[in-house]
């Protein structure tokens, strides 16, 4: 990996020292803002801390007992899994579908690509403001549009009742994040050698057969990476759900990220919140390790 074959052990040692020197500022910042807080979170989870005064006392594993025996964590875990599975599935389907369309010869293709990619880079705050306005039960374009098209008879309460609220966040999540899949798949599609399609054509394969026999196997490895990354990111999503429903109605869209926030800054129980966040991280760890192992093979 290293750039040069150093001519002497002395030079090699000097290079190693320079390498460490270059990474040192990064390591310092990392230790201060990531490693220390991470360890502190685990430490804090053994205390009972009242947020406004920050008074705390050591309670051992009491917060973890509450996590295991109480309803809150398991309810949020279930909500998180429903949200992640729902939005991830739609993101992949919409993303691959759109990428296949945008890969074709389309009129004004680059404009179409820009329009499709835009939601991904848009601030979640902006996205949520627009969607809350669209979902507005009295004046919202969503209800009136669907009613004018004859799909709905009555305006729907989109975010205030179940299961609409869950459907709402899954829809908005899909809209916001499927462009990620589009970009990644589109980049991979452009590298599939043309002669594979030629060969399939000669063998008499139609467009559908060519998709299953040529395109999909070629996309397999990139799709695995996309699914892992998006699963991790969707699992920990905070902004979108917090701003759209705030976890409501009651706690029916309260994912684990929202539970941690609510416990720490709504119910003022920082120690319990830290325990929930550690629990959440342990659940995610499996996915993170799979992704890291997949990537580490390339290092």
């Amino acid at each position: 990996m290293s750039a040069t074959a150093p001519s002497s052990p002395l030079l090699e040692r000097r290079y190693a020292r320079l390498g460490v020197l270059l990474i040192a500022p990064t390591i310092m910042v990392f230790s201060l803002v990531i490693v220390y807080p991470l360890l502190a979170a685990i430490y804090l989870s053994l205390f009972s801390i009242y947020t406004p005064t920050l008074d705390g006392e050591f309670v051992g594993f009491a917060n973890y007992m509450e996590l295991l025996t109480g309803k809150a964590f398991w309810n949020s875990l279930y909500v998180t899994l429903v949200w992640t599975m729902g939005t991830l599935t739609l993101q992949i389907l919409a993303g691959v579908g759109m990428a296949l369309l945008l890969h074709q010869n389309l009129w004004f293709r680059s404009l179409a690509r820009s329009l499709v990619l835009f939601p991904y880079f848009l601030s979640t705050v902006v996205a949520i403001l627009v969607w809350r306005w669209l979902f507005n039960d009295l004046y919202g374009a969503m209800n009136h549009g669907l009613m004018q098209l004859g799909i709905l008879d009555m305006p729907i309460d989109w975010l205030g009742s179940m299961p609409n609220a869950m459907i709402g966040i899954i829809l908005v999540g899909t809209w916001k994040y499927f462009p990620f899949v589009v970009i990644a798949v589109l980049a991979r599609l452009q590298t599939i050698p043309e002669h594979l399609y030629e060969a399939a054509k000669i063998d008499g394969a139609g467009p559908v057969a060519r998709f299953w026999d040529v395109t999909l196997p070629q996309l397999r490895s990139v799709l695995v990476v996309i699914i892992l990354l998006r699963a991790i990111w969707d699992f920990k999503e905070f902004d979108l759900i917090f701003l759209l429903t705030g976890g409501g109605p009651v706690t029916s869209t309260q994912t684990l990220s929202l539970l941690v926030y609510q416990e720490a800054f709504g119910l003022n129980q920082m120690g319990q919140a830290a325990a929930y966040s550690v629990g959440m991280m342990l659940v995610m760890l499996a996915f993170m390790l799979i992704y890291i192992r997949k990537t580490a093979r390339e290092i």
């Binding site: 910042v29 669209l134 890291i292 290092i299």
Partner: protein, 275 residues
Amino acid sequence: MPFLRTLAFNLFTWTLVLLIAFPLIWMIITSVKPQTELFRIPPTWWPETITFEHYKRLLYETPFLIYFRNSVVLATTTTMFVVTLATLGAYSLVRFKYRGRDTLALLVLFTYLLPSVVLIIPLYLMMVAIGLSNTLLSLILAHTTFALPYALWLLRSFMEGIPEDLESAALVDGATRMGAFRDIILPQLLPGIISTALFTFILSWNEYLYALVLVNSDSVAPLTTGVMSMLISAFNIEWSLLMAASVMMSVPLIIVFAFLQSYLTSGFGAGGVKG
């Protein structure tokens, strides 16, 4: 009928594209509708009168410009800080050999995936303890937690794409490592640096959770929490005003999209999605 097929395909795809873009179009349309037209049932799909009164009100009667300035300072400082550190760090991770290097690379990847809510409680306590709570500096430090792993990972991939032989040749000719870095590596890395800087800027510009927890006064609030507070504090939600704010908030993004989009897509190839 090849032409009819092309036409049908284009109509179908463009309908989907416009459906996806509809919320954004609706945002712009709403922002130029007069207040009276806004509460029409059913809504007018195209504004009958176009007005810019909401933009004027936004700029002159709300703290929007303060939020905007805060966001510019926050995102710019974070980007410069993070990209400088990450460029040096990535050079070290890719082109030097020392003990612990690969472990470090894995640690970077791990933190890149870490949820913010795990770090937010200790970071909040830390900022309170060192007297930084409610300052832009606390937000810059907090944004480092997600921006630095991201920038390092991205720049690492870009760095790996630079061939080693030019650097070796310079070294043989008597250049120092840092001299070769400045003259050979930096010029080749420039597109990668621009791409990383754009991504970092956008991440920081759009961040909400840390701003929500660490900052609570108008004078230091960035756009994300500032604009949301306009929604929550208003007795009567002024949607036109909020849509105007949304449009204005997206202006930097639109500029990037119009002129620098290729940098954004090239960052994608490098950023962990190579499979």
